[in-house]
Symmetry: C2
Subunit: 530 residues, 2 copies
């Protein structure tokens, strides 16, 4: 009993793909698709008792490398899920298999560093009899390779593990592959963020864009301005991110090769800031007198810039990444316009009645503050119209490639978010919408196209919190993940991607990620739930 | 950074409602709204150490009544969540509060029965100093009253428990308040079903419509025909409901006053049946020869009716409810039409080429089988067009009240599902769509309106499994719950319902139900998640 006409159309299609999955079971393999992937039907058994990860002799990093030591531990559990969950398989303890070694080597020792925009994620993986060899320039590349290796391992019906002979050369298409979480419209418990970082690593995302504060709440607990969260958070004790929470998130992300990009959006989207910091927001006027409400940050007061300088100084030291997101979107000029002090300031500055100039002046000052702190600024595209110095994130709907082109033509770096707004729910069978996106399909020189450094999935928080974040994000974000990592020419066919994505979604479910189904069907191991 | 224009419109509205919640905190109370509810600001402290549920002296049921004994246990944990989760509150062990007793009395002993269509759910609840008195005709009414009582208890900031002086007289508007789960398009683990039964009880739903089998899979493990699941389930061992699973679901539901209504939909929607039962489905023909595909159940063979009689005999004894759902929807005639044996049979029966007559003949036979088994049949509205003897569930979109009216005019009982199809995701702020439904707003006599016995939320499984069922169902189904339980005149204002539903949704989250947020905001206790 269904009203959905798509159902019948899809029925035959699904039958076809199910057959296809069965046939290609062992080579469905890896999501996102590696750049160069050769595998054969030659299969090797893996026994958790005789398998181990180890450092190659020629590797610059050796035992004691935090990133790889902990990755070996994580991926051992991911490669042998039953085994780790305590469900012992009789065979394994009895059979004395010859050992299988996965040998990892890296060229550089970044074991104690943070991943950054120049970090190579390239790796080569070669699986043969009794041995897998994984070579990478950096530990971050090795972590990507371990993820790939874990996806190559499969179980037969009796629960035995296998991996096929495989050769992979892999590297990301785009340097910046982000997911935005909004922790202001709803507070997300730290556990929820960590779980998302896990799923990001499975999808080879490498930037967690933390839209940490906004109008509704200010959960970031600042050392310099503790009132911001004690007055601006939904609750001053239970709905905040302490310094230790933030460190935990950054460190958890680091071990997975994920950068944490903080956003402190201003001058708009700052209602919650005003609760803990008086004289920061613009008092709005009605009929010539203050109405009691407040607008964007007040750009006319020197105290504003002193406050911002101190706040960003703290933020710059707390968040190690060299990028910082300054927001700058959706500034409503009406409150500024109503305020006589603002108008006086504008006259003085020679802005006339052009409030865009006022906003440009404000953003310029903030960018100067963060530049002095050696940070690279990112702003939402709204700022690009009047300010052409910083990296731009394109988010508006419509002809987003027109905007990408304009920004690239101006010689600025671009991050594309428009096609990957996932905060509104949609039927999961619409996943292809997020897959059939061509970020470089605009007229431009090679140099201009290189300025498109990547893309980002945005999960705004109006309707999303810890209860529904995961099924709303995955597997739809996985479609974006492949677009951002893989070769576009080999991953543009939706029909070919469908069974692979179904298979990958089951892998996510097996790993405890509540990724929703794409269509009718089942996973060998269903989500057992809460 | 949002594209959603509704955001700004809603902002002021939400501020207003948040203020309202704060003011009315202690009387937001109960969802769905009781028929008659008086409460005052007079508040009484509750101490888990000195609180207990007990049977009233005049109660027909006494200690040893399975339904109430287990309800007392459940609701003790729900009334005192911190306490039960082990987080002891110093005060409680120190202060020697005077005891508070909740005394429950019922007029009839249905302790070992199943709830049925005639079960009264009426109850009176009176909360005064040191005492709550709950009177009901049946244990099912008492269970509803306990739910109400648990929602009346709240905690202050220090964690202490309180309840206000309250008088409630309550009963459901509709006798039949159902939720359909589809376990064929995706298999739902038993745990997921039980969790849904919990949430149903919190919402005072009383019918679990188990759409247990359909085209994609046959997970019901039949004693009589074990091949149906061993060949027709997604997996013969891990993706089935054993007899013991089914008993567990029925018993879990019973303790919560919930009926389990099984649906074995035929003659369409039966592809999976054919895998384990040969000669059951109609062979389709192409160019005069069998094409190898199969259509609906074959209505021309006597063996079909023998099979159905045996299957329904088993089903009737496994499922104690007096209702049974026979489906009958969306029968595609093209395969019947292609088959020469079917056409011969139709000639013999005098149906000519009217396949609706053939379907009517088939349904008539099945209804006769189930009538002989003393079951009341329900069918989807498709059957009503040619068969006017059984209860009808209206599901098609469009003017569903026209259909309701037609069925009621024909003197048949009606269940309304059309406005409550929740399987497709929608922005949660659309919850009001499921609230502003007026099931009796058709022209008809009082007697006709009484034939509308209730409504049902349908959660079809194309895009839904254990990963996303709960946030997709709740709190949208809660909107339907209030429509089906409460007085329409006092629950027709969306603005008044909004803060109450937000509050109730937080209660669900506190109880571990992954109900998604309605809009920006927070719960005191956020979902801590997986």
């Amino acid at each position: 009993t269904k009203r959905d006409s798509v159902t019948n159309l899809r029925r035959s299609y699904v039958r076809w793909t199910v057959q296809r999955i069965k046939k290609e079971k062992n080579v469905l393999g890896v999501w996102p698709l590696p750049q160069d992937f050769t595998s054969s039907m030659e299969q090797y058994p893996l026994n958790p008792h005789t398998f181990h990860f180890g450092y190659g002799k020629q590797s610059v990093a050796q035992r004691g490398c935090s990133v790889l030591d902990s990755a070996f531990k994580r991926y051992f559990s991911l490669v042998f899920p039953d085994y780790s969950s305590g469900r012992l398989h009789n065979e394994w303890t009895q059979i004395k298999d010859k050992p299988f070694t996965a040998e990892i080597s890296v060229d550089h020792d970044h074991c104690d560093d943070y991943p950054n925009e120049e970090s190579s994620e390239r790796y080569n993986l070669s699986v043969s009899e009794r041995k897998a060899v994984l070579n990478a320039e950096t530990v971050w590349g090795a972590v990507r390779g371990l993820e790939t290796f874990s996806q190559l391992v499969y179980q037969d019906d009796s629960g035995s593990y296998f991996v096929n002979k495989t050769e992979i050369v892999d590297f990301p298409r785009f340097q910046f592959r982000g997911i935005l979480l909004d922790t202001s419209r709803h507070f997300l418990p730290v556990q929820t963020i960590l779980k998302t970082l896990d799923a990001m690593a499975y999808n080879k995302f490498n930037v967690f864009h933390w839209h940490i504060v906004d109008d509704p709440s200010f959960p970031y607990q600042s050392c310099t301005f503790p009132n911001l969260s004690s007055k601006g958070a939904f609750h001053p004790m239970t709905h905040i991110y302490t310094q230790s929470d933030v460190r935990r998130v950054i460190s958890y992300a680091r071990l997975r090769g994920i950068r944490v990009l903080p956003e402190f959006d201003s001058p708009g989207h700052t209602s919650s800031w005003g609760k803990g910091q008086s004289n920061l927001l613009t008092p709005c006027y009605r009929s010539g007198i203050p109405s009691g409400t407040f607008g964007p940050v007040n750009p006319a007061l020197p105290s504003t810039y002193q406050f911002m300088a101190r706040l960003f100084q703290e933020v710059s030291s707390v968040f190690p990444d060299s990028f910082i997101h300054l927001g700058g979107d959706e500034v409503d000029f009406s409150c500024w316009r109503s305020n006589p002090d603002i108008r006086t300031f504008m006259q003085k500055m020679g802005f006339g009645v052009d409030f865009a100039k006022l906003q440009a002046f404000y953003m310029e000052s903030i960018v100067n503050i963060t530049s002095a702190l050696k940070k690279t600024s990112i702003v939402w595209q709204d700022v690009f119209d009047y300010h052409k110095r910083v990296m731009v994130e394109v988010w508006r709907a419509g002809c987003y490639l027109c905007e990408v082109r304009k920004v690239a033509k101006a010689g600025l770096r671009v991050i594309l978010a428009s096609p990957w707004y996932l905060d509104q729910p949609g039927p999961t069978h619409d996943w292809a919408r997020y897959y059939t996106v061509w970020p470089l399909a605009f007229k431009g020189t090679d140099k201009q196209k290189k300025l498109v450094i990547g893309g980002e999935v945005c999960m705004w928080g109006e309707y999303v919190d810890a209860t529904n974040l995961t099924p709303r994000l995955w597997p739809r974000a996985s479609a974006a993940a492949e677009r951002l990592w893989s070769d576009e020419r080999r991953t543009s066919n939706v029909d070919q991607a469908f069974p692979r994505l179904q298979d990958f979604r089951c892998k996510l479910v097996r790993r405890g990620i509540q990724a929703e189904p794409l269509y009718i069907g089942h996973c060998k191991h269903e989500f057992q739930g809460v």
